[in-house]
Amino acid sequence: MQIEIVLAGFGGQGIMFAGQVLSYAAMETGKEVTWIPSYGPEMRGGTANCTVVIADEEIGSPLVKNPPVALVMNLPSLDKYEPLMRPGGTLVVNSSMVDRSVRREDITAIYIPANEIAEEIGDKRLANMVAVGALLTAVSVLKTEDIEATLNAHMPGRHKHLLPKNIEAIRKGYAYAQAHTVAAKA
C-alpha cells in the first residue's frame, strides 16, 4: 500500500499543518510516512504546498508527478494540480475560495465550502481541519478517529481547549464530503 497526497493553498491557510496532522496520524497507526514542503523563497503570501506519502514499506520518492489525491484550498492551486491528477484520482476543492468546477471528467471531485463551515463552527482558522475531514473520505488508510487521537496527543496543553472544535471541524468536513462527491465518469 502506498498513497500520495498533495495539499496546496495560500500561505496562511494552514496547509503545511494539515499535511503534518495527516503525517502524525499515519505514523501513529504504524505506517511509514514522508512530509515534504515546497520551501522556495516565495513562501510569504505566495502559494504553499506539501506532499504526504503514506506506505507500508520504506518510502522511495517523497514527491510524485501525478498524485492520486489532492486538496486545493484556492484557485491557483486548482489550476496547478487539476492537470497533474492521476486518472481516477480524487481532487478535494475548497469551494469557498474557488469559483469554478473541476473540468476533468476522469477524476472524482469533492467540493467543500471549508471557510463557511469553519465560520459556522465559530473560527475561520478551522477551514484547514474541515478540508482535512473532507480529504479523509478519499484516504482510506486513515480514519477520522486516527486524526482526532493524533490531535489529542500532540496539541500543546495551552491549546487543548481548541480540541473539541477541531474535532467538530474534521467530522463536519467528512460528513459534508460524503454528501457532495461527484464521482469520475471515466
Binding site: 505514523m27 514522508t34 515534504i36 522556495g40 522511495g60 520518492s61 514527491l63 508527478k65
Partner: protein, 372 residues
C-alpha cells in the same frame, strides 16, 4: 524510544547533541538554517558552546580551535558556505584533528538557489581544500539514517583523526519522517585524548599544527594521513542494496537520488523488469569493490544523480568498461521524479548502452534536446 515525526535538519542537530556534542559554530544559510536554530536554543540550555560566527570563515576556524582541545565539535552549512570553509577544512585535515561537517547541498554553482542538489559531490568527496587529504563522507537517504549517522560521524572522526562529513541535500533537511533519536549520552565526556592541547600543566607540552616547513617532514605527515586513509578504506565501506538477488540491471544512486530511484525500481519490477538498486552510503571511501562484484551478473548500470555525473566517475572507475553504463542527472536544484527514472530504466533495457559509450556525453545531448 518511540518514533517521532522529525524534520531532517532538526533531527540531525538533536542527534549530534545526544551524541555528546561539546561545541557548535556556524553561520546561517538556507536550506540548513534549522540546524543552527536548534543548536542556538539547545546548546546554551545544556551549558554547551554555541556561537553564531561573523561568517563561515570564522565558524570553521572556531571549529579548528575547539577540535584541537579534543572537543566533540561540528559545523553545518550549505554549498556556498561550505566553499568558504575550504581553507579551514584543509588546515584541520593537515593538523589531524577530528570534526564533523554537515553539508545540506543546494543548487549551484555560484549563489545558485536553495533547492535540493547533489552538486558538491566532487568538492566534498575529493577534498575541496588544498593538499592531499580524504574526508570520510556519509550520505543519508532518509531521516532515520541521518540521525543514526551523527554519533557514527563523531566516532569515525575521532577514531581516524579525520574530517567526517554528513552530505545531504535540502529535501532531506526540510522534510519530515518518523525517526527514533538516540539516547542522550552521559555528559560531559572525558577530555583525555592523548593528542589534545588542553592545558600542559604537569605534562609534556603538545603541539598541533599544519605547518611543516621541512618538506621531508611534510611528506611523512602526508604518508601518515594516507596510512590512516588506507585503514578507513578497509573498514568503513557502507551501502544498501535493494532487489539485487536476481537483478539483471542495477540502478546506482546516493542520498535523495537513490531513494527516488527506489520508487522507479519498484515500478519497473511491477512491469517485469529484473532491476535492483545499489545505494552507496559511504561516498568516501567509495564502495568500488562491491560495484566491481556486481559487474559479474549485471547487463547494464543506470547511474542517477542530482548533478552532471560526478559520482558516475567513481562508478566508471569500479566498472572499468566491463559493463555498459547509462547516466541520468538533473541539475541546478531540479529533483528527478520516479517516472523519469522509470523511463530511463525502460530505455536502458530497450536500447542497451555500449561499454565504449561515454554515458555523460550521451546524457548531455539528450538533455540539451529535451530541456529547453
Amino acid at each position: 524510544m518511540a518514533r517521532e515525526l522529525l524534520k531532517g535538519n532538526e533531527a540531525i542537530a538533536e542527534a549530534a547533541i545526544r551524541a555528546g556534542l561539546d561545541a557548535y559554530y556556524g553561520y546561517p544559510i538556507t536550506p540548513q538554517n534549522e540546524i543552527l536554530e536548534w543548536m542556538s536554543k539547545r546548546m546554551p540550555e545544556l551549558g554547551r558552546a554555541f556561537v553564531q560566527a561573523e561568517a563561515e570563515l570564522g565558524a570553521i576556524n572556531m571549529v579548528y580551535g575547539a577540535a584541537c582541545t579534543g572537543a566533540r565539535v561540528m559545523t553545518s552549512s550549505s554549498s556556498p558556505g561550505i566553499s568558504l570553509m575550504q581553507e579551514g577544512l584543509s588546515y584541520i585535515a593537515g593538523t589531524e584533528v577530528p570534526m564533523v561537517l554537515v553539508n545540506v547541498m543546494r543548487g549551484g554553482p555560484g549563489l545558485g538557489n536553495i533547492a535540493p542538489s547533489q552538486g558538491d559531490y566532487n568538492q566534498i568527496c575529493k577534498g575541496g581544500g588544498h593538499g592531499d587529504y580524504h574526508p570520510i563522507v556519509l550520505a543519508p537517504a532518509n531521516i532515520q539514517e541521518a540521525v543514526d549517522m551523527m554519533p557514527l560521524a563523531f566516532d569515525l572522526a575521532e577514531k581516524y583523526l579525520n574530517i567526517c562529513c554528513v552530505l545531504l541535500d535540502g529535501s532531506i533537511g526540510q522534510m519530515m519522517e518518523p525517526a527514533e533519536l538516540p539516547e542522550m549520552q552521559p555528559y560531559p565526556r572525558p577530555f583525555n585524548q592523548p593528542w589534545a592541547v588542553n592545558g600542559a600543566i604537569g605534562r609534556e607540552r603538545r603541539i598541533l599544527t599544519s605547518i611543516y616547513l621541512d618538506p621531508p617532514e611534510e611528506e611523512i605527515t602526508n604518508l601518515r594521513l594516507l596510512k590512516r586513509w588506507e585503514q578507513i578504506q578497509k573498514n568503513e565501506i557502507r551501502y544498501k542494496e535493494y532487489y539485487l538477488e536476481d537483478a539483471e540491471y542495477v540502478v546506482i544512486g546516493f542520498g535523495t537520488a537513490g531513494r527516488i530511484a527506489l520508487s522507479a525500481v519498484r515500478a519497473a519490477r511491477a512491469k517485469g523488469i529484473k532491476v535492483g538498486l545499489f545505494r552507496p552510503i559511504s561516498l568516501s571511501p567509495y564502495p568500488y569493490k562491491r560495484i566491481e562484484e556486481l559487474c559479474a551478473k549485471t547487463q547494464a548500470f543506470l547511474v542517477t544523480e542530482m548533478n552532471a555525473g560526478q559520482m558516475l566517475e567513481d562508478v566508471r572507475l569500479a566498472v572499468r568498461g566491463r559493463v555498459p553504463i547509462r547516466f541520468y542527472g538533473r541539475l541546478g536544484g531540479v529533483m528527478p521524479l520516479p517516472d523519469e527514472i522509470l523511463d530511463e530504466i525502460e530505455q536502458m533495457v530497450k536500447h542497451p548502452p555500449k561499454a565504449e559509450d561515454d554515458p555523460a556525453a550521451i546524457w548531455l545531448h539528450r538533455m540539451l534536446e529535451t530541456v529547453k
